[in-house]
């Protein structure tokens, strides 16, 4: 008997005392070789951990344990209505990204190029009519869902005391959603777009002192034209998506932090 301590990590000696078949032995050698280099053990531990977290041993069925059939709160996210505007926003973003490949913001020509590209999307592009339809309906539904969400928050008093900041953020998001829609329906440069743009320019100009400056900044001049369409396009596809996405993330983050306001 030796006084030397046994080396716990001597895999060679451990292998020698085992009576292993050739297959088992070569498998183990390979496993040890890879583990020395890639530390597979760590990943296995992570996987194991995840496995036990997911497959928790439930004493009863899930429904029984959490009493889901008589718990209203489980369906609360459906009632809060905010998730619908988020979903519509995601659908609008995806379909809008696809539309962006085919659209060109130009008023040049007898029939404006922007109008022609929208017509081409609807008439020539495979699935294009459906794509525009999806984008348009997602936008309409998003605005509707935002209004409904706001009504729900108002009538259930969810804006009250610790949630003022999120209500203010929501008002800003409402304004930005409407602005998103406005810049969006100006893009096809049809009669609706032109005359709605005219209303916008006149509203901007009517403000004293800063009015003309605002009209120049937002609409690229005091009358509608190529600069207007250009700016609406940049607002719609570059500025607003980033700003609105960031604010929605903040909005939902605050809801996550503070919890959904439950009526009681």
């Amino acid at each position: 008997m030796s006084l030397e301590r046994k080396d716990e990590h001597d895999h060679g000696a451990w292998l020698a005392e085992k009576d292993l078949s050739l297959i088992e032995k070569s498998y183990l050698m390979m496993l040890i070789w890879f583990d020395r280099r890639l530390r597979l053990v760590d990943y296995l531990e992570l996987l194991e951990d995840m496995y036990y977290k997911i497959n928790l041993q439930m004493p009863k069925s899930h429904t029984e344990q959490y009493n889901l059939d008589n718990k209203f709160w489980y369906w609360y996210p459906l009632y809060a209505l905010g998730s619908f505007s988020l979903l519509a926003y995601i659908v609008a973003a995806l379909s809008g990204a696809l539309l962006g490949f085919y659209y060109s913001p130009s008023t040049a020509g007898e029939t404006p190029v922007a109008y022609q590209t929208v017509e081409a999307i609807m008439a020539d592009l495979n699935f294009g009519f459906m794509l525009r339809s999806i984008h348009r309906w997602a936008a309409q539904v998003m605005v509707a869902a935002v209004f409904l969400h706001m009504l729900r928050v108002y009538f259930t008093g969810a804006y009250k005391e610790p949630r003022e900041v999120n209500w203010l953020l929501g008002v800003v998001l409402l304004a930005l959603t409407v602005l998103f829609g406005y810049t969006g329906y100006l893009l096809p440069w049809n009669q609706l777009a032109f005359w709605a743009g005219q209303i916008g320019v006149e509203m901007a100009i009517s403000v004293p002192i800063v009015g003309e400056w605002t009209a120049n900044l937002l609409f690229g001049g005091l009358s509608l034209g190529q600069p207007t369409l250009q700016r609406m396009y940049i607002l719609h596809v570059f500025v607003l998506p980033f700003v609105v996405t960031a604010l929605i993330a903040l909005h939902i983050g605050i809801v996550w932090m503070q919890g959904i306001a439950e009526p009681h």
């Binding site: 996210p77 929208v118 999806i134 309409q140 009250k160 005391e161 009669q191 005359w195 403000v207 009526p263």
Partner: protein
């Protein structure tokens, strides 16, 4: 060890401000001690958070509120499966709607041809309606009947007033009431606001109705008030029953005389 050495050691600062790394000993202040030593705003912040934490703890201990053993639903599998189901259903409905009611594209923009009816998209009708309130723009007797601001500016300011009123709402309505029956006044304000949004939407097209335009204009202001009054009355009535249900047990416990 000489005296000079101990003197030198006493001069050594142990709060991390010195040049060298000093091994921690008993005289090294803890983090809370350091915070207590700070002055000014940081001191104030520290004290406030300590007090707030203490207050929370006391409230929690005094409260008769029994915390639920299950505070929420597990993200997996409950909420995940529910969310996937809701999202799929909703996106499916959206695609169905898009396929069923495809959009149209009107005539291309033509500055020389004004359409008979100029309207924005539907969700801006209320805002456009606010631009049509020029007859409410006051005329000043001092300025010989002239208006102090243009009608357009008046409409733009009305939009700002509406957004401002919505924004300051949580600073006006305090308290913990969460149901319309508990606050009939605020609920009726809300219903009045919703009706006002609809009636305002009629103002831009008031010339299209077969009756006098003034009737539409007057209705835009009367209907919301009527709706608000009805809501108030209904909720007040409901409130009686609601309070009765809440207090039923209490009333039954009293012995009849």
């Amino acid at each position: 060890m000489t005296d000079t050495d101990t003197d030198a050691n006493n001069d050594v600062r142990t709060d991390g401000s010195g040049t060298g790394i000093v091994a921690p000993d008993d005289e090294v202040p803890s983090w809370s001690e350091r915070k207590e030593r700070t002055t000014g705003l940081s001191r104030l912040t520290y004290e406030y958070f300590e007090r707030a934490r203490r207050e929370d703890q006391d409230l929690r201990q005094e409260s008769s509120y029994v915390e639920r053993d299950v505070l929420g639903f597990p993200a997996w599998p409950h909420e995940t499966i529910r969310n996937i189901a809701l999202a799929s259903f909703f996106v499916g409905m959206l695609l169905f709607l898009a396929a069923l009611l495809p959009p149209t594209i009107e005539d291309p923009a033509n500055p020389s041809e004004t359409p008979s009816v100029i309207l924005p998209d539907w969700y801006l009708y209320w805002s456009f309606g606010l631009l049509h309130l020029e007859s409410l723009n006051p005329e000043l007797a001092l300025a010989g009947g002239e208006k102090i601001m243009s009608d357009q500016l008046y409409g733009v300011l009305a939009n700002g007033v509406v957004f401002g009123a919505i924004a300051i709402l949580p600073f006006l309505n305090k308290g913990s009431a969460r149901r319309p029956v508990e606050e009939p006044f605020w609920a009726s304000i809300g219903v009045g606001g919703v009706i006002f949004a609809f009636t305002l939407s009629l103002l831009p097209i008031e010339a299209m109705f077969p009756w006098d335009v003034h009737i539409t204009f007057d209705m835009a202001f009367f209907l919301p008030v009527i709706g608000a009054i009805i809501t108030y009355a209904v909720l007040k009535t409901m409130r009686e029953g609601y309070m009765y249900n809440l207090n039923k047990r209490y009333y039954r416990l009293r012995p009849p005389r």
